[in-house]
C-alpha cells in the first residue's frame, strides 16, 4: 500500500491545487448562481429563454469550445481579460485563477439548475406571511427563502465542486497544463498517461480523485440530511 500514499511533491501539488481551484470555483459561483436561479425561477422578462440557454451552454458545448471562448474573452488580449487586468489586477491566463474560472463556468449550469429547482419548490405563501409580520423583501429573502432553499444550495454547491474536480477540457484549453499553477488532478493524470512509466502515478491520482469525489458526495448527503431533519417540511 505504500506506493499509494507515497506521492511525489508534484503529485501533492496537483491534489492541493485541484482542491483549491474547485473550492474557489464553487464559492465564487454561489452568489451569481443564486441570483441567476432567482431570475429564472421567478422573473418574467424579455430574453428569459435566451438567458436560460446561455447558462446551459457550457453543458452542451464541447469543453474545448468553452475553453477557447474563455481564452478569447478572458485571455491577455481578450476584452474582458484586458479590462480586468488593467483595472483590478486580476489575471486569468495561465494562472490558477483561470483554472478556477474555467471550472466555475463549466459547473455553473449544474449549480443553477439545482438552486432553481429548490427556489421553485418554496411556498411563496410563507414569504407573504413574513411580509405581513413586517419583514421587507430583503429580510424575507434572508430569513425565509434562503433557509428554505438550503438543501438545494448544498446540492448545487457540491455538484459544482465535483464538476470542478473533474474538469479537464476547458481548463487545459484556457490555461494550459503548467505544474504548480494550472495542473489540476485530471491534467496531471493526463500528463502521466502521456509519458512512459507514468502508470503508477496515474493510478495513484485516479484513486485520490475517487476518494475526494466520494467524500464530497457523502458530506453533501450528511449535510442535506441534517438540514432536512431540522426543517421537517410539512
Amino acid at each position: 500500500m505504500n506506493w499509494l500514499l507515497d506521492l511525489t511533491p508534484d503529485e501533492w501539488n496537483a491534489v492541493r491545487l485541484s482542491i483549491k481551484v474547485a473550492t474557489v470555483a464553487m464559492l465564487a459561483s454561489l452568489p451569481p448562481g443564486i441570483a441567476i436561479a432567482l431570475l429564472l425561477a421567478r422573473g418574467s422578462f424579455w430574453g428569459k429563454t435566451l438567458l436560460n440557454g446561455l447558462v446551459h451552454l457550457p453543458l452542451i458545448l464541447p469543453p474545448v469550445v468553452t475553453g477557447y471562448l474563455l481564452l478569447l474573452t478572458f485571455g491577455k488580449r481578450g476584452p474582458a481579460g484586458a479590462f480586468l487586468a488593467e483595472h483590478f489586477g486580476i489575471v486569468f491566463s495561465f494562472r490558477w485563477t483561470g483554472a478556477a474560472l474555467a471550472c466555475g463556468v463549466m459547473g455553473f449550469p449544474l449549480m443553477v439548475r439545482a438552486i432553481r429547482l429548490s427556489i421553485e419548490a418554496v411556498d411563496r405563501k410563507m414569504e407573504a406571511a413574513a411580509g405581513t409580520l413586517g419583514a421587507n423583501p430583503l429580510w424575507v429573502f434572508g430569513t425565509i427563502t434562503l433557509p428554505l432553499i438550503l438543501p438545494g444550495l448544498i446540492a448545487g454547491a457540491i455538484l459544482s465542486f465535483a464538476k470542478a474536480m473533474g474538469e479537464f477540457g476547458a481548463t487545459i484549453t484556457f490555461v494550459s497544463n503548467i505544474p504548480n499553477e494550472t495542473q489540476t488532478l485530471p491534467s496531471a493524470i493526463y500528463t502521466f498517461t502521456q509519458v512512459p512509466g507514468g502508470d503508477d502515478g496515474a493510478l495513484r491520482l485516479t484513486l485520490i480523485s475517487i476518494v475526494i469525489s466520494m467524500a464530497a458526495l457523502v458530506a453533501s448527503e450528511v449535510l442535506a440530511r441534517r438540514v432536512g431533519r431540522r426543517m421537517d417540511i410539512e
Binding site: 405563501k125 406571511a129 413574513a130 411580509g131 409580520l133 413586517g134 421537517d232
Partner: protein, 370 residues
C-alpha cells in the same frame, strides 16, 4: 379605531365592488365561498392590490388608487392569521413567535411575549418545531406570532376552517379572550353562522363581491334571507343576555334578556356574566295563546313585526319580544291555520334543550363594547 374599505376589483369573470366601514371589536366578513371575503382581507393586508379604491385603518390611508398610494405589506403593521397557519418550518415555535418583533419599532412594541404565551396557552410548545404540532396548536401559535408583531389591526382568514370540531372548540375560547382582553381590533373572515354569532360584534355580509348588509351582529343576523343557502338552517335571532342565576336542582342556567328569562342547560359561568345565544328559527314554535301542559320551558310573549317567505313551504316570522326580536320558521300551513298577521300578539316557544355549545357562548362584555 375603525376600518374603511371602498374598492372595486376584477379577477377574471369575478368583480368585487364593496364598501364598508366598521369600528367594531371583532368584525366578521361573512358570506359563502366565492363572495370575495378573502380577497377583501388580502387587500387590507396588502397581499392584493385593488384596481380602484381606498382602504383606511385607524385613520391611516393604506391604499388610495386615485392618489397613487399603496403601502407595502411590511409597512402596514397589520397582523394576519392565515387559514393554513403558515408557520415557518425551519424555525422553532419560539422563533416563529419572535419573528415579527424584530421588525417592530421599539416605541410601538406593546405585545408582551409572556402575556401572549399565557393568553394562548402555548407555553409547553415553545421548543417544538411546527411540524410536530397539531392543527389547533399551529393555529394558536400563528395567532401568537401575529400578535407579537404588535399589530394595529389583526386579520384572521377563516382560522378555523381547516380544523375539525374538537379543534375548533379548543381555539374559539382563545379568540374570545383575544377579542375581550386585548385592545386590537379584529377583522375575521368566516362562512359559518356559529362563528359569527359567537364572535362578532359587527358583521359585514357579502354576496357575489358586494356588501349586502353590515352593522351590529344582533341586527344583521335578523336577515335570514341573506344567509348562504347551506347555512340558512342555522340562522336565527342572536341575543345578548346576562346570567341571572343557576338552577342547581335541575342543572339549568337562567339568562336575563330584554325578551324575558330564558332557561338554557347549565353553563359554567358566574352570575352576571354576559352570554350570547343564537335561537335558531327552526327551533322556535309559535302559539297564539299562552300554552299550558307543554314541556318547553321558554315562553316569550311578543308582537309579530315581520312575515317573510322562507325556503320551500316555510315562512319566517319576526316576533318583537319587548325590544328583542326572535325569529321563528314555521310552515305556510301553520301561518294560515293560526291566522298570523303583522301586529298580532303571539308567544314564542323554545325548548331549553335546543341550546347547546354551538349556539350558547360567552358574550361580549357589554360595558366594554365599541
Amino acid at each position: 379605531m375603525s376600518v374603511l374599505v371602498d374598492i372595486r376589483h376584477r379577477l377574471g369573470d369575478f368583480a368585487i365592488d364593496a364598501r364598508f366601514e366598521s369600528a367594531g371589536r371583532l368584525t366578521v366578513l361573512f358570506g359563502p365561498s366565492g363572495s370575495g371575503k378573502t380577497t377583501l382581507i388580502n387587500m387590507i393586508a396588502g397581499l392584493i392590490r385593488p384596481d380602484k379604491g381606498r382602504i383606511e385603518a385607524d385613520g391611516r390611508v393604506l391604499v388610495d388608487t386615485a392618489k397613487g398610494i399603496f403601502a407595502p405589506k411590511h409597512k402596514r403593521r397589520i397582523g394576519m392569521v392565515f387559514q393554513d397557519a403558515r408557520l415557518f418550518p425551519h424555525m422553532s415555535v419560539a422563533s416563529n413567535l419572535r419573528y415579527g418583533r424584530w421588525f417592530t419599532p421599539a416605541s410601538e412594541r406593546y405585545a408582551d411575549m409572556d402575556a401572549v404565551v399565557e393568553l394562548l396557552g402555548i407555553g409547553p410548545l415553545l421548543g417544538r418545531r411546527p411540524a410536530k404540532l397539531s392543527g389547533g396548536e399551529k393555529q394558536r401559535v400563528a395567532i401568537g406570532r401575529a400578535l407579537l408583531a404588535s399589530p394595529r389591526l389583526l386579520l384572521m382568514d377563516e382560522p378555523l376552517a381547516s380544523l375539525d370540531e374538537a379543534r375548533k372548540a379548543e381555539i374559539l375560547p382563545y379568540i374570545e379572550r383575544l377579542r375581550d382582553e386585548t385592545r386590537i381590533p379584529i377583522v375575521y373572515v368566516s362562512h359559518s353562522i356559529a362563528e359569527v354569532a359567537r364572535l362578532a360584534s359587527d358583521v359585514v355580509m357579502l354576496a357575489q363581491g358586494k356588501v349586502v348588509a353590515s352593522g351590529p351582529t344582533v341586527e344583521v343576523m335578523q336577515r335570514l334571507d341573506l344567509l348562504p343557502a347551506e347555512e340558512r338552517g342555522e340562522g336565527g335571532a342572536v341575543l345578548d343576555t346576562n346570567v341571572l342565576r343557576h338552577d342547581e336542582a335541575f342543572g339549568m342556567t337562567v339568562l336575563g334578556s330584554a325578551a324575558g328569562e330564558i332557561r338554557v342547560p347549565g353553563l359554567a359561568v358566574t352570575a352576571g356574566a354576559p352570554v350570547r345565544i343564537r335561537i335558531r328559527a327552526r327551533d322556535v314554535m309559535i302559539a297564539t295563546e299562552r300554552p299550558s301542559g307543554l314541556s318547553a320551558l321558554n315562553i316569550l310573549s311578543g308582537t309579530i313585526v315581520s312575515i317573510s317567505p322562507g325556503e320551500g313551504p316555510s315562512v319566517e316570522v319576526g316576533i318583537d319580544c319587548n325590544g328583542a326580536t326572535v325569529l321563528a320558521r314555521i310552515t305556510e300551513q301553520s301561518r294560515h291555520a293560526l291566522r298570523l298577521r303583522l301586529g298580532g300578539q303571539v308567544f314564542a316557544v323554545i325548548k331549553t334543550v335546543s341550546f347547546d355549545s354551538a349556539n350558547t357562548s360567552a358574550g361580549l362584555p357589554l360595558e366594554a363594547d365599541g
